[in-house]
Amino acid sequence: MSVKHALLALLEKPRYGYELRAEFEQRTGASWPLNVGQVYTTLSRLERDGLVEAGGTDAEGRSLYQLTEAGRVEVKGWFDTPVERTQPQRDELAIKLAVAVAVPSVDVGKVVQQQRNATMQALQGYRRQARSGAGDDLAGGLVLDRLVFAAEAEIRWLDHCESRLRRAATSTAPEPAEPTEGGPR
């Protein structure tokens, strides 16, 4: 994911590189850590493109960056435009399951179960973060909610996959199959 626009938007107020990174991580509940090198690389590209400019130094002599007028227009455009959803990003899990169905030696039911456990554990982790206060601040809470909703959707989808696989297995079986402990084969 490109963090260019997020960093740009946070330059509404002039900031230096470390401060910008800290602000980004605090806002997003530290869910997507940035290294400071990434931040400075992004800043120099933004400067090259005329979206930010040097904004003097602070009391400690640190170089500040600030938005240019073009940068403001860019930020407004970002907020005014929905995130692109018509061209879904490559989804490793969907690809893995699709391929698993086609490869006879793979136990698809097991792939589904393992993933569901892993995603449930991630969801339990978000829950622990929320209970320890990570979501108390509004911005961090929204990000945490986003992660919870996404994990929840994935588990629901995996449940759905499991049901479809079972139905498919039953409809192709020669005899009405007894349910087996390991789920669909």
Partner: protein, 240 residues
């Protein structure tokens, strides 16, 4: 490691006979320890609700055994099971199961009064439980004067009143919006953190994730489990 509050050993439940025979549960074993919340997930008809009614002594297994706080429900007999339900087991249902003609406090005090507690002490305990679920000031309201979320809070107060050791919740968030549902889970979780054992039946992953362990049931069998094992939960507790 201490004994579990709830222990199901190889529990099966068969409804009907012959061609109409339905195996709701096929040899399920499950334990829930003090301080632990266990979630049970599975599609409709998987047996998850049967499991809960058997754990709570509302139904009896065809074979296998159930113990609550070390007491075998089969040996306890009908009156023993009824007493256990009044004193040790708190049940929360999707549709609240409140008595409309009784106030919030009267609903919560009812199991204690049925168990022979004095009216005054039962009402006092009910007020404490209502306070715990954030309903102080609502004691004299009737259920139909309250929202769905508030009604479920009354039901939770009724399930925890009198220091119950086992909380069984069957889709307690079913009729509630996400935020209200989360509040209900927070209450159940808090009670488990305070030392009760909890079993939550749900089909919603977000609520199941409040649990320490998530058990998947399908066709009357436990097919999978996610989360920490009871021994690691307990080890953390001991070290903490």
């Amino acid at each position: 490691m201490s004994d579990p509050v709830l222990r199901l050993t190889d529990v099966s439940r068969v409804h009907g006979t012959g061609a109409a025979e339905v195996h709701a549960l096929r040899g399920v074993s499950l334990e829930a320890y003090a301080g632990e919340l266990v979630a049970i997930m599975g599609p409709s008809g998987s047996g998850k609700s049967s499991l809960l009614t058997i754990a709570g002594g509302l139904d009896s297994p065809t074979s296998g055994s159930v113990t609550v706080d070390g007491q075998d429900l089969g040996e306890a007999g009908i009156s023993g099971r009824a007493k256990l339900r009044r004193t040790s087991v708190g049940y929360v249902f999707q549709d609240f199961n409140l008595i409309p003609a009784l106030t919030a406090a009267e609903n919560v005090a009812l199991p204690l009064e049925l168990d022979g507690a004095g009216r005054r002490s039962a009402r006092d305990a009910a007020r404490v439980a209502l306070e715990e679920v954030g309903l102080d000031g609502f004691a004299d309201r009737f259920p139909d004067e309250m929202s769905g979320g508030q009604r479920q809070r009354i039901a939770i107060a009724r399930a925890i009143v009198g220091e119950r050791r086992l909380i069984l919740a069957d889709e307690p968030t079913g009729a509630l919006d996400t935020e209200t549902g989360e509040d209900i889970l927070k209450l159940i979780r808090a009670r488990c953190d305070a030392g009760a054992a909890g079993v939550l039946v749900t089909h919603e992953p977000r609520y199941a994730s409040w649990a320490d362990r998530v058990i998947y049931v399908r066709d009357g069998l436990v097919v999978d489990e996610a989360g920490e094992t009871p021994s690691t939960v307990f080890a953390v507790e001991v070290e903490g």
